[in-house]
């Protein structure tokens, strides 16, 4: 099918503000928005966007597609291109646009550090864990740190959604010294927690659910 794209362009060296560039590409409906971007890049090698695995495991290609933050490689054209074949691609919101679709990830990775994002192993851990305990954490551990949730909703001044998921996964780990004490450190007020629980499965590319705690 024939698609008409609007892609947000911005080069801080020359542009005062972002603008849209239009592209036309031919694609099959079963192809992805990442395929679309690769084709646009062939037309204009100056276009910048992150990508790598193309199978929704590396988390590089988070962008805003027709207004919704998602992974380009996981978004099929037939899911989002209406009858008119129009697709608008912008950088993730709530992140600073550095160049075209590339955003500043430093604040995102810094936000993880605040929750002590590593296991502090108990001295008496014997290497065993019941399968059902382990299974409970699997969903949370499938986070790929793509940043799509942080782009979709926020917790001003508090722990951001992706950091919260990691903190929660560690808080449920019986091997961890801090364990449930992590929940108090993270400071997510009940009303925000409700928002996280409601919104996360809707926006997360890995469909992570935040359990009631």
């Amino acid at each position: 099918m024939s698609l008409s794209l609007k892609i947000s362009r911005f080069n801080p060296e020359v542009d005062r503000e972002p603008y849209f560039q239009e592209f036309r590409v031919e694609m099959a409906g079963c192809q992805t928005v990442l395929d679309v971007l690769m084709e646009a890049w062939r037309q204009d090698p100056g276009l910048s966007f992150r990508r790598s695995c193309r199978s929704a495991i590396c988390g590089s290609c988070g962008v805003t597609i027709n207004g919704v933050p998602r992974l380009a490689c996981q978004t099929l054209i037939r899911e989002i291109a209406g009858h008119n074949g129009r697709i608008t691609i912008q950088p993730l919101p709530h992140f600073r646009q550095l160049k075209d679709l590339v955003v500043d990830l430093e604040p995102f990775f810094d936000s993880l550090k605040a929750i002590v994002p590593w296991l502090i192993t108990r001295w008496d851990h014997d290497g065993c864990m019941a399968p059902e305990v382990s299974r409970r954490m699997e969903g949370l551990a499938s986070c790929i740190l793509c940043g799509v949730c942080d782009a979709a909703f926020s917790n001003p001044g508090g722990t951001k959604p992706a950091a919260f998921v990691k903190g929660l996964r560690l808080a449920q780990d019986p091997r961890d010294v801090l364990n449930e004490a992590r929940l108090h450190v993270m400071q997510v007020p009940p009303v925000i927690l409700k928002l996280f629980i409601k919104k996360m499965p809707l926006v997360c590319p890995k469909k992570i659910k935040i359990p009631e705690i």
């Binding site: 100056g46 910048s48 199978s55 929704a56 399968p131 382990s134 551990a141």
Partner: protein
């Protein structure tokens, strides 16, 4: 100028393991072309082989690996791999890896191809992802300095000794010099040299090519693994775990055709054998629609798929529009892994003092002519740790090279002028065209089945493509995130490696493991039980033979 004692290039499993190990005693930095969690290690699905059960034994793991390698693996290195595996798996467990468990609370293990025992520890079918993120967390804890989205351009020397690295910061579009005593390459493979590959866009063999250009010896480059089960069309990986959990391969008649090729191991024969079997079925008219075969998981049940193979189920649903619980998945083989790489000893040291390598970029060689599923992830942590240890020892006794500004200038000048160049003018040729032609050539003529005339033609045409590459106007300009420039550089690396792969394959007139020649379909131990060593010559690569370490297992016929 930045200074670190040890510079690790690559933030995947091998790189992070090396960095964590070295950081206990040295000042370490990790330079990575993507944020570490986005490394391709995270896409590994099946598991880590390690002997944990009492019914299993290290000797059995060694034997399976040696046989899997078609006797080209170095047995001293394989002994290291298999004996250091178990303690590392438990160490990873203590770091926080969420391994799947058996009912008793110990680590669950599954069968992967070519193994005589279910010995792959796993985290559902996202094993690489879970371990990568755990090592990343530990790297944050250890305070290892990370330079994300920085690219290695060139190794710097003082005499024969490594003195540092010339690197490029993609965000600021700036060249930097990092002085160091040791460089550890952990840059992974070159999957993008092939049109059909499971590999990420980032897998362009940068470290291998840069080491080669700096004069390091590479080995066994003709041995390229083709994974049997990738989604037809997109070549997205469908884990070997799918067969490990009981999946069947079927041709258009619904027949489990592996009975013809590996009557004992069936679907769990090694990957080289299964990939050849699939293509043979297709060639002989038994492919579905003449193009692919089916991976059938429909008898496994929804619950098992959800628990053990959730990613496989998701990938099939999204990219093939199929519910794997009810419909067989169309699959075809595609390039997956590089057995060859920068030649190292069992401590990760390459032929250049101070240059180390670990993981897929390296050839130590534990995989020989064919890698077994579950052994590459194991290799990353075992030899990543060893490289970290070696780096510390080397840095302790090695004085700093002086590396004055005058030493650096000749390295900087060509890169400076490349970056300062004007935006590209009109040209008929482009990196995209050259890459498309080169990768199609590799898939068609240097793929699962090869022959003399095809390889000869590939070598000749690759040289022509390299000439065309030299004439390209580099996409210069100093804007940030200049992926056009990166693509241009990556294509240069790939073309160098393609030349080595095709050249090595043409030279090796036998069939062994993943290297199969229709014009010489037999293994020839008398002439070819040797590594192919390659080095950069004046105009083209120079090839020679290197000895294989044979300690316990004398080569014998390899049946499954």
């Amino acid at each position: 100028m930045l200074i670190h004692e040890v510079l690790v290039v690559g933030g995947g499993l091998a790189g992070l393991m090396a960095a964590l190990t070295a950081s206990e005693k040295s000042d370490v930095a990790v330079l990575s072309k993507v944020y570490p969690t986005r490394s391709h290690s995270g896409a590994a699905q099946g598991g880590f082989n390690a002997v944990l059960g009492e019914d299993d034994s290290i000797a059995a793991h060694i034997f399976d690996t040696v046989k899997g390698s078609d006797y080209l693996g170095d047995q001293d290195a394989i002994e290291v791999l298999c004996s250091e595996g178990p303690e590392l798996i438990l160490e990873l467990e203590h770091m926080g890896v969420l391994w799947n468990r058996n009912p008793g609370g110990g680590l669950a293990q599954r069968s992967l191809g070519g193994a005589g025992f279910p010995r792959a520890c796993f985290a559902a079918d996202v094993s690489g992802h879970v371990v990568l993120h755990t090592l990343f967390e530990k790297a944050l804890e250890s305070g290892v300095k990370v330079y994300p989205e920085w690219h290695l351009l060139e190794l710097l020397f003082e005499g024969e000794q490594i003195a540092g690295a010339l690197v490029y910061d993609l965000a600021r579009a700036k060249l930097e010099i990092i002085r160091c005593k040791v460089v550890i390459l952990a840059t992974g493979g070159y999957g993008r040299a092939f049109a059909k590959t499971t590999n990420a866009y980032a897998n362009t063999g940068d470290g291998m090519a840069i080491a080669y250009r700096a004069g390091a010896l590479l080995s066994d480059m003709e041995f390229v693994q083709f994974h049997p089960t990738t989604l037809f069309g997109t070549n997205i990986l469908i884990s070997e775990a799918a067969r490990g959990e009981g999946g069947y391969l079927r041709n258009k008649d619904g027949e489990r055709f592996m009975a013809r090729y590996a009557p004992q191991k069936m679907e769990l024969a090694p990957r080289d054998l299964v990939s050849r079997a699939i293509f043979k079925e297709i060639k002989e008219g038994r492919g579905v629609e003449g193009k692919y075969v089916h991976l059938d998981l429909t008898h496994l049940g929804e619950e098992l798929l959800q628990q053990r193979l959730p990613q496989v189920k998701d990938l099939a649903a999204r990219y093939a529009g199929i519910d794997a619980a009810w419909t067989p998945i169309p699959i075809e083989p595609a390039q997956h892994y590089s057995m060859g790489g920068v030649r190292t000893d069992i401590w990760g040291m390459t032929s250049i003092p101070g240059l180390l390598a670990a993981g897929e970029v390296a050839n130590v060689s534990v995989h020989g002519a064919n890698r077994l599923g579950g052994n590459s992830l194991l290799e990353t942590v075992v030899f990543g740790r060893r490289a970290g240890q070696t780096a510390v020892r080397f840095a302790e006794k090695q004085p700093w090279a002086s590396l004055s500004p005058a030493d650096v200038t000749p390295y900087l000048e060509p890169w400076d002028s490349l970056l300062a160049g004007k935006a590209q003018g009109k040209q008929d040729d482009s990196p995209f065209k050259i890459q498309q032609e080169a990768t199609l050539l590799m898939t068609r003529q240097v793929g699962v089945f090869r022959d003399g005339p095809g390889l000869e033609d590939a070598v000749k045409r690759m040289a022509e493509l390299k000439e065309r590459y030299k004439k390209l106007i580099p996409p210069a300009g100093k804007q940030p995130y200049n992926y056009g420039l990166i693509h241009y550089l990556e294509l240069g690396y790939l073309l160098d490696l393609c030349e080595l792969i095709a050249g090595g394959a043409l030279r090796r007139t036998e069939s062994r493991g993943a290297h199969f020649r229709l014009d010489c379909p037999w293994r020839d131990d008398r002439n070819w039980l040797c590594h192919t060593i390659s080095r950069q010559g004046e105009r083209c690569p120079e090839f020679s033979d290197g000895p294989v370490s044979v300690t316990l297992y004398i080569p014998q016929e390899r049946g499954y």
